[in-house]
Symmetry: C2
Subunit: 692 residues, 2 copies
């Protein structure tokens, strides 16, 4: 009822604002299906699960109570068969990697602590045993990991090294006499830190350490280590630790520190899929290059990044559904009428604040769908070349930073857009924001990830143009970005966009045109990469210190280029999705939303387009106005666009998303209406003739 009333009101408003065209309609159900994506059924099951009270975050618990509740919830997940999809069918899983991540992401709506604690147990700890271990390890540990008999840790990060995993300092030195590895923490900075399950629950751990045998350091490898006595829960001899204590969020997880004093584990505890040590201490690996081996072993981490990308999109949807619903009911100030106050969503600034973020959320969601399909292709073995894996890594490194920062920004903007009500925990913005805060720095710090993307862009550039003239560049970044290229056949498929469609200058003529937006966004990435590459030319022939200084002088530009690349990927994903929308009304509205996304990107980087002569002063001045007109067009469809997310009251759990505000506003307006009609309203002093 609420929604219908608002839609009518909004349509009237749109008509009043001079949008003459007939109002298209959004097919909410069909759009909802599109948004559920390839693993729609898994997502539906996971949402049903996430709707259950016993999985919801209880606010106001002490962290001790919250930890206990979350651990109990993990058992419910096991009982519900919700977390085994990625494991082998032979162990009771279903070898479904994409579905596993899709289901896992949806848990964020119940409690991000639950999501991340499940991620530690099955996505990191279990996944490391599965992907880095071999048959014997699987037999020995996977059943207990899957059924939670062995809660465990993924002990990689150290106090002294987070982003630079290759430099961790824990050692695993092989002792051929005992046929054991000696796990050792040489100094305080080498304590494992921020490790989920380490403070309380972890009985076992996959510990990452420098593998040393016969005097040679073979780099970082993973070792299975028992941490605690299963009965007494006391640390085993040689092992110690500390509780990380309270955190800014995710306090349902017992993060902690671990250290090892010459702890001996059997030789067989080396998870030896990518590197083995025989009884005599001879090291062998199927991957000759230590560098490539390291990145292959770390490849399993990409799952975490992909799932954070999806969870961030889900949290953004929850926030926008609540804030936009409230903004259609909440009234403040009576600018346009003596008796009627405006609903917040009719204010231009409010539309700007919420609709631009709504557009980005759609773009991030469609980009995530492509990323998840790419992950499924790689992990299922359907497309699993080295190049596929590298493309997946790069894509995840590009998208996870943007979506997680976007989630924090959206949660905060929605909280502010709801004023004091937004600050109450009962409306969930502040709680979700606190929990998602660390998503921007864990599983790969966002800034570091964008630098990886930049390095990949530069490397590809160098590969392509080692002996070529600059003219060849015209095709380059386009190939990195074209939508279909991303999720099926890697980043490099030739799209030939610029060549086929003429100059960027021509593109600027019609900003709302899809090809024009593509040309502008693509050209920016292309030019930024080329400029950085030019500035860095010859760096590899400089002494290390000078090369490093040169890179550092361009670090900011490189990160900006990576971000521009990632934004283009999001735009391409949104545009690709438009092609799958059959209903004309839905397609019209979604195209406006895609245009809002594209033009907002152009507006955010308008100075670049101007400085580089891609847009004239006159053309640039039209961007803001065009965005404002899109806001007016989208206004009547705002509720449809958030309803299509498909989240119900059990996922939203926000007092202001229940229609309560509309009930209050209606009651107040009725009160004044009756007062006016009955003539009992007091006369305002200002309407009296002035005194003396």
């Amino acid at each position: 009822m609420t929604e219908v009333a608002d839609r009518q009101g909004a349509a009237t408003h749109a008509a009043a604002a001079g949008t003459a065209e007939p109002l298209p309609a959004v097919d909410v159900a069909a759009l909802g299906e599109l948004l559920l994506g390839k693993w729609a059924e898994v997502r539906r099951q996971a949402r049903d699960l996430a709707a259950r009270d016993e999985l919801h975050k209880t606010e106001g618990l002490t962290h001790t109570e919250h930890r206990a509740r979350t651990f109990g919830q993990l058992k419910l997940l096991v009982d519900s068969g919700a977390v085994h999809r990625a494991f082998p069918a032979s162990f009771g899983g279903s070898d479904d990697h994409g579905g596993n991540i899709a289901g896992f992401e949806e848990l964020v709506t119940a409690d991000p602590s639950l999501q991340i604690k499940a991620g530690v147990q099955w996505g990191l700890f279990g996944s490391a045993v599965m992907h880095l271990g071999t048959a014997e390890h699987h037999e020995k540990w996977l059943p207990g990991i899957m059924n939670l008999d062995i809660p465990g840790c993924f002990a990689m990060t150290e106090t002294g090294h987070g982003s630079d995993v290759a430099s961790i300092a824990t050692t695993a030195t092989y002792d051929p006499d005992a046929q054991e590895f000696v796990i050792h923490t040489p100094f305080r900075a080498a304590w494992k830190d921020y490790i989920g399950n380490a403070a309380i629950d972890g009985l076992g751990a996959v510990v990452f350490a420098q593998l040393v045998t016969r005097g040679v350091n073979h780099g970082v490898h993973a070792f299975y280590v028992d941490l605690r006595d299963p009965v007494s829960k006391a640390f085993l001899p040689g092992i110690g630790g500390e509780d990380d204590g309270l955190k800014g969020g995710l306090n349902g997880i017992d993060n902690g520190r671990l250290h090892f004093d010459h702890v001996r584990v059997p030789r067989a505890n080396l998870l030896n899929r990518y590197g083995n040590v025989d009884a005599a201490g001879n090291y062998t690996s199927p991957i000759a290059s230590p560098g490539r081996r390291f990145f292959t072993m770390l490849g399993t981490l990409v799952q975490g990044r992909v799932s954070l990308d999806g969870a961030a999109v889900a949290a953004s949807k929850i926030a926008l559904k609540t804030a936009i619903t409230y903004a259609t009911e909440r009234r403040q100030f009576n600018a346009s009428s003596p008796v009627e106050e405006e609903v917040l969503l009719d204010y231009q600034r409010h539309q700007r604040r919420l609709f631009t973020r709504l557009a980005t959320t759609y773009a991030a969601g469609f980009a995530h769908d492509q990323l998840l399909e790419k992950l499924d292709d790689v992990f299922s073995g359907v497309h699993d070349s080295d190049e596929d894996r590298q493309d997946l890594e790069t894509l995840a490194a590009a998208l996870k930073p943007l979506s997680t920062w976007h989630a924090l920004d959206t949660l905060q903007e929605c909280r502010e857009a709801c004023g004091g009500a937004g600050f109450l925990i009962e409306n969930r913005f502040a709680s979700l924001r606190a929990d998602l805060d660390v998503y921007v720095t864990f599983e790969g710090d966002n800034t570091v990830l964008l630098q990886l993307v930049a390095k990949r862009l530069l490397a590809d550039y160098a590969k392509e143009f080692r002996s070529a003239t600059f003219g060849v560049l015209a095709r380059y970044v386009v190939n990195q970005a074209a939508g279909t290229a991303v999720h099926r056949t890697g980043l490099r498929q030739v799209a030939q966009f610029v060549a086929d469609n003429g100059s960027v200058q021509k593109a600027a003529i019609a900003l709302r045109d899809e090809e024009s937006q593509r040309a502008l966004l693509t050209d920016r990435v292309q030019t930024m990469v080329a400029e950085a590459a030019t500035a860095l030319r010859g760096a590899n022939r400089l002494p290390q210190r000078e090369a490093s200084a040169l890179f550092n002088q361009h670090q900011d530009e490189l990160i900006d280029a990576a971000r521009a690349h990632a934004e283009l990927l999001q735009w391409e994903a949104f545009t690709e999705a438009l092609g799958r929308v059959a209903d004309p009304g839905t397609r019209t509205v979604l195209t406006w939303l895609r245009d809002l996304f594209g033009l907002s990107l152009i507006e955010n980087n308008l100075s670049w387009y101007l400085m580089n002569g891609r847009l004239s002063m006159q053309r640039a001045r039209t961007v803001g106005g065009y965005i404002n007109r899109l806001l007016v067009k989208l206004r009547p469809h705002a509720l449809d666009l958030v309803d299509a997310f498909g989240y119900g009251p059990a996922h939203l759990r926000a007092a202001i998303a229940t229609g309560a505000e509309k009930v209050r506003q209606d009651e107040a307006r009725d009160y004044y209406r009756v007062q006016r009609a009955s003539g009992t309203a007091p006369v305002p002093e200002k309407s009296l003739p002035p005194r003396g």
Copy 2:
């Protein structure tokens, strides 16, 4: 020791980076005095107080425990004589309005809940009795308010009306027979909401309600109402309420809801300084215009905005001191050397992230000093004309949004810049950020405040140019902004900058020149206001609905113009402060910091300067590079610039601000150095000849 070592390293680094000039030195002690400002002694006392353990936030308490602790801390403040400075000397205060705010602001470093709960009791509740009441009220209630015998509420906001106070729905209807006012809540939306002290502690309240007598509504007035029985703490008859429950932060304060069912208070309980009702029910006021009367009564609220502005700056300082200290100790990746890892603060991006925010913090701090002096002038009666009060309101409405948003942005960026350590509550970023979150929407929603500023800019514009040609405009906004004008003689003193100094185009020639920065920043405000005014010309002759629609179409631009105005005020305040720095080295470094602030503003709005022909493409392309060179110049002085804030370990209370990271890094480097020297280091596999 840490600092000295870093400074030497940084100096070397700066030299290596090619900055040839001899390194200036910052006189940290003198700079610290400058930053303490006019109320240095009060700030020092307040910081000593805030350093006491018993006033510190205890993390991890339930909100019930936290509330009890905070209430107990208020009593300590009373015992310390820390919170009575603004009250009359005749009641034991010291009539010191500026000093009162200065001391109050510093409490934020102990616990923002303590700051805000003290603000509710003495800054809002007590201040309302003092400023809106008259002698009888002072005698009756001020002693109990001051000594905390009467904890109380400032009951203005309602569930249905926050920003639009004039439309609150609670009524106070005069009954001449009983000589009482009847306080009544007509419907649910009129419940008082988010009221500090309402859930638990409040015995009394200043309740804002529409004063109705003899059938006329005289608008919002304040009434003293007893809420609870002082012994049983139960609500008095006719009064009810609810607990607002958990919030995103500030959980040491018991916010709640209140409602009144025909609650009778004596006629004398009207706080009658600006409006009185005699026994027969006749209303009189010293201020004839209901509008002006309303804004005069609300004028006391400006103190809250001013103090939030100062507290936001203090919190930003705490965050930057911790993050910059850590960034000089923390090492990650060894890009420039095979054995030595880089400290974070030598990375360009890290400098960008932290130094731009450091520059803004200095600017916001100096602007706050001017605002606080303006407040003191007005409240002490030294300069207390209507125009002074309006200027104070506008200045507070301009600065509070920028500084509070800046604090959230800075706390978050610092937290991210410290990675996982930043997320631990022991390092305080997340805790402070959660508590300060609501600063951007309470005591005046930031977006609404900026609209007030925009309206003032438009009104002044209209006043000045009602019958003038556009040429006169050249002087206009400059007069609004010139530094000295702000804090002594109102906003309008003629500065004649543009007229004296030639064209804006000429200014763009030397971006690092002070006059050039001023010209560019001033011209932008001036032009934006003029454009908005032109677009809105004639709006006052349109029907209300159309006028409102026209305004709404320009709402976004108006808010941007107000923001630009506020940024210019900050820049002018920073520049004015440079004139008070005697030491040449300090002045050189602070000038770089001011330039970084000014150029960052220009960079953030570069598209505007390009679109409007104020900067050429070529000139605009130099801005980023110039900023990067300033970062390198500032690098060796970063620790000095945060040390000058004057906060010690008892204010920082962050594990990573103690030098612990340097101890860990040194231990690790010593370990590897000894290993290399003794030849016991394992050989890296990658340095071996390739196998097979």
